[in-house]
């Protein structure tokens, strides 16, 4: 199963990013904390959240790892 709570989607276009997030959420051990998703600095996070629908509540999007420390 998914061991880390952070996945790297940097460089991925929106469709494979959404797929990767879906796949990671399915394989998670701890679903009580949001999944950290590292995205590129050019990612349209608002649009990505819309594409994720309800799953958007289960993820934290950030373009560098230090932001996760701030969020969590």
């Amino acid at each position: 199963m998914q061991d880390s709570n952070t996945i790297d989607c940097n460089g991925l276009s929106p469709a494979p990013t959404v797929l990767r997030i879906m796949q990671a959420l399915i394989g998670r051990k701890d679903s009580n904390v949001p999944l950290n998703v590292l995205v590129g600095s050019d990612c349209d996070c608002a649009r990505l959240s819309v594409s994720l629908g309800d799953l958007a509540d289960d993820v934290q999007l950030a373009s560098n790892l230090r932001q996760f420390a701030t969020i969590n």
Binding site: Q2, D8, G11, L12, P16, V18, M22, I26, G27, S51
Partner: protein
């Protein structure tokens, strides 16, 4: 679309009066994938170069690059340790004058993950590979993803053919690579390793473009390579290869407004004029497991982008 490879591999072997030894555990050297790969290798400017093949299989590509493409030296390895020995034997019979130009990396080598392999990669000009782009059907996380999309594994998909590892890779083991999400994790892992150990080496890789060429190009670019297509051919979808992974990808994107960004590319005809999504293709397979379906195979060269 490129023209079909001019010289059929089996015909070439026949003319030369020699056939490679091809046991069931090796990928069929007369498969159209091999023909397409060799058409691309002919266009890859290998003359005088040192070439490393990741996944040597029967060794027919080694013989081809040394004899026909004029490569000066070849290295090669395989995950199945029997295959590198088979490749040595076949090279001695297919092209004895070039046998001494091949230096094998013995043992079971995943990608280039041994000291000997990495050492040889650092001396390599061009790395060539045709490695799996479909996750192992029994992979636990892949199974969970497929079930979440209500996609069933077809009957018989769990059955492992003798050359199983030529068709599938352990999907979860490569999940650290972003493009694993679309079945390119193993290929992306190789690109990253080459970039690390041989940053100036070109790569020439053979892909079944069921996921579409655009996303394969995207993977090359994201990993520091400028991609270009060297050869392409529409081939039969291998009857034994499970496509439920591609169906699950399409289903997962339903309702995301991204459906059109990733549509898998199968065809109903050998000319590639009647495209089918994976979902359409799976529907046809369910009606008739032996239905003729096709997809593109492309040889893509990656030229390292200067930092």
């Amino acid at each position: 679309m490129f023209e079909d490879p001019a010289n059929d591999t089996a015909e070439r072997h026949r003319k030369q009066g020699t056939e490679p030894e091809a046991p069931d555990f090796a990928f069929d050297p007369d498969d159209p994938w091999t023909q397409t790969f060799q058409a691309g290798l002919e266009r890859a400017d290998l003359k005088g170069k040192t070439v490393y093949e990741v996944g040597v299989g029967t060794g027919v590509n080694l013989a081809f690059i040394l004899r026909t493409c004029g490569a000066a030296r070849a290295y090669g390895s395989d995950l199945d340790p029997r295959l590198v020995m088979l490749a040595e034997r076949n090279l001695r019979s297919l092209s004895p004058q070039h046998a001494e130009h091949f230096e094998p990396v013995h043992g079971s080598v995943s990608l280039i993950d041994t000291d000997d392999a990495r050492s040889k990669i650092t001396k390599t000009d061009v790395v060539i590979a045709c490695i799996p782009q479909v996750g192992e059907p029994n992979d636990l996380r892949l199974t969970a993803f497929r079930k979440a999309q209500s996609v069933e594994l077809p009957d018989g998909a769990e059955t492992q053919a003798e050359d199983h590892i030529a068709h599938y890779y352990p999907w979860t083991a490569f999940d650290e690579y972003p493009y694993n999400s679309v079945g390119l994790g193993l290929n992306e892992a190789l690109l990253r390793r080459i970039r690390q150990h041989a940053p100036k080496a070109q790569v020439v890789m053979n892909f079944g473009c069921r996921i579409g060429s655009d996303i394969i190009f995207e993977c090359f670019e994201a990993n520091g390579y400028r991609p270009e297509k060297l050869a392409s051919k529409i081939v039969h979808q291998h009857v034994g290869t499970d496509i439920s992974f591609f169906v699950a990808l399409e289903k997962a994107l339903c309702g995301t407004d991204l459906e059109k960004q990733l549509v898998c590319k199968f065809y109903a005809d050998p000319d590639g004029t009647h495209p089918l999504s994976a979902t359409d293709a799976q529907r046809l397979i369910e009606k008739d497991p032996h239905v003729d379906l096709y997809h593109e195979v492309s040889v893509i060269r990656g030229i390292p982008i200067e930092n």
